[in-house]
């Protein structure tokens, strides 16, 4: 899976700011009030990606797995913090999110290495780890966000089930199922339509870099399937740990439904 590297100059990057200008113009013209956000997004993405580019360069040079672990740990922490902001209704969401992202990353990367798909080297583990943590973060955030909504919306049904003597796990089962589903559905759907409606980033990157299309497609498939596993794990772990925080040990809803 080697490909000739391509050279991208800062000038090339600057040229694409023309498209950013289009976005700003659209926002200004239709008063979407996103000009400032677009500006922040462009500056942040430039700084963050440039910085991470140097970090990755450094890690590749060191060729030590400890640096990979450290980088993924940092991603997990930032990912969990970011996801918690989307799951404000869920009490004590940070712990479940940290565990979900860490375990999903460890399990998926461990598995692809154990199966011999990727060598345990920084140049494979760093990009794959980044994708795994990123997608897991989105899935866990969406799942917990939905969980919070579901508990608020269905508090009466949940309490009605508790009132029959069901434990909190049983009472929460329907909302846990729906929340997990909503965390996973985006990736499942995009995997279904991949190649038809959109080309995924890895494949596009490899094709641009001059790789053989068959290789590009195979690598992309590996990543898509890996991501399906990690997203399922992250959603499952986050939800399984977080739903308990809505209940007391005596199987009562902490936030009682309005009378």
């Amino acid at each position: 899976m080697t490909s000739p590297s391509i050279q991208v100059s800062l000038g090339d990057v600057a040229a694409t700011l023309a498209l950013v200008a289009v976005a700003v113009a659209v926002s200004f013209w239709r008063r979407a009030d996103l000009e400032e956000d677009i500006g922040i997004a462009v500056v942040r993405s430039f700084i963050q990606l440039t910085a991470i580019g140097y970090v990755i360069n450094f890690i590749f040079d060191q060729d030590s797995l400890w640096f990979v672990v450290a980088l993924i740990a940092v991603m997990v922490v930032f990912g969990a913090l970011q996801a918690r902001a989307r799951a404000k209704q869920v009490p004590g969401a940070l712990g479940p999110l940290l565990l979900a992202l860490a375990l999903a990353a460890a399990a998926t990367l461990g598995l692809v290495v154990a199966l011999g798909v990727f060598k345990p080297e920084p140049r494979y583990l760093v990009p794959v780890g980044g994708m795994v943590v990123g997608n897991s973060m989105t899935a866990a955030a969406v799942a917990l966000n939905r969980l919070g909504d579901e508990v608020t919306r269905h508090a009466r049904e949940i309490e009605a089930t508790l009132a029959l003597g069901a434990n909190s796990t049983l009472a929460a089962a329907p909302i846990v199922r729906r929340s997990l589903r909503s965390g996973m559905i985006t990736l499942v759907d995009s995997t279904k339509t991949t190649g038809l409606v959109f080309f995924p980033g890895t494949m596009v990157g490899m094709l641009l870099a001059g790789a053989d299309p068959t290789d590009a497609v195979r690598l992309q498939l590996i990543l898509l399937y890996t991501l399906l596993g990690s997203v399922a794990l992250a959603g499952l772990i986050a939800i399984t740990l977080a739903y308990r925080n809505f209940f007391t040990p005596a199987h009562q809803l902490r936030e009682q439904p309005e009378p």
Binding site: E159, L164, G165, Q256
Partner: protein, 219 residues
């Protein structure tokens, strides 16, 4: 006494819902009556530990409810809440779910009959029932646990007059057919007179009267 509340105070969002409530509910048909927002539903939830007081004690059959396993207690003292509260699926699935919690094989036809529904309701989708039918399905589901006490939270508040009369008749008939005590929560004093022998009257989270309905609610 079936239930005894002693100096119970409970708060919600740092607002007092029940203040220093001391009251008793005997076996048989009793009710908790008062205007909306008086704390009736909260009091009912204390009886099977769907909520706990900040201070004070709740006793059921001479024992503190906190000493009971909450899940076992709720199967024995079963609360039929306000709507909507059925699970997705058919009425029979709802009944079987409840019976399964108590480790029982339900007689679905008999339970539907007790709740005033004919056998054809077993296969009906719980999401497509009228409000009155849902109320009866919830009653059938609660009865599947074979509880000793039924806690009924405003069982007719969402019903029109005709359906209300029919549900009341079902509940009165049920008490004749099954040995069961009931605690009814209602804002309707006429309903309290029709349905209960004993009443605890609440206003703004405080007990303002307790005793036989004939004496407390004499017309």
């Amino acid at each position: 006494m079936l239930f005894e509340l002693k100096r119970v105070t409970i708060e919600r969002d740092s607002k007092v819902v029940l203040q220093d409530v001391t009251a008793s509910l005997p076996n048989g048909a009793s009710c908790v009556a008062g205007p909306s927002g008086s704390g009736k539903s909260t009091l009912l939830r204390l009886l099977n530990r769907l909520t706990d007081p900040v201070s004070g004690t709740v006793r059921y059959e001479n024992g503190d409810v906190r000493e009971r396993d909450p899940l076992e207690l709720r199967r024995e003292v079963c609360l039929v809440p306000q709507l909507p509260a059925l699970l997705e699926g058919t009425v029979e699935e709802n009944i079987r779910f409840a019976a399964g919690l108590a480790g029982r094989e339900p007689e679905v036809g008999r339970l539907l009959d007790l709740a005033g529904l004919d056998a054809s309701f077993a296969a009906r989708d719980s999401g497509k029932l009228s409000v009155g039918e849902q109320q009866r399905a919830m009653l059938a589901r609660a009865l599947a646990l074979e509880p000793r006490v039924l806690l009924l939270d405003e069982p007719t508040s969402a019903l029109d007059e005709g359906a209300r009369g029919a549900v009341e008749a079902t509940l009165l008939d049920l008490r004749r057919r099954v040995r069961i005590s009931t605690v009814l929560v209602t804002h309707d004093l006429d309903q309290a007179r029709r349905m209960a022998d004993w009443v605890v009257r609440l206003e703004e989270g405080r007990v303002v009267g307790e005793g036989r309905v004939k004496e407390q609610l004499a017309v």
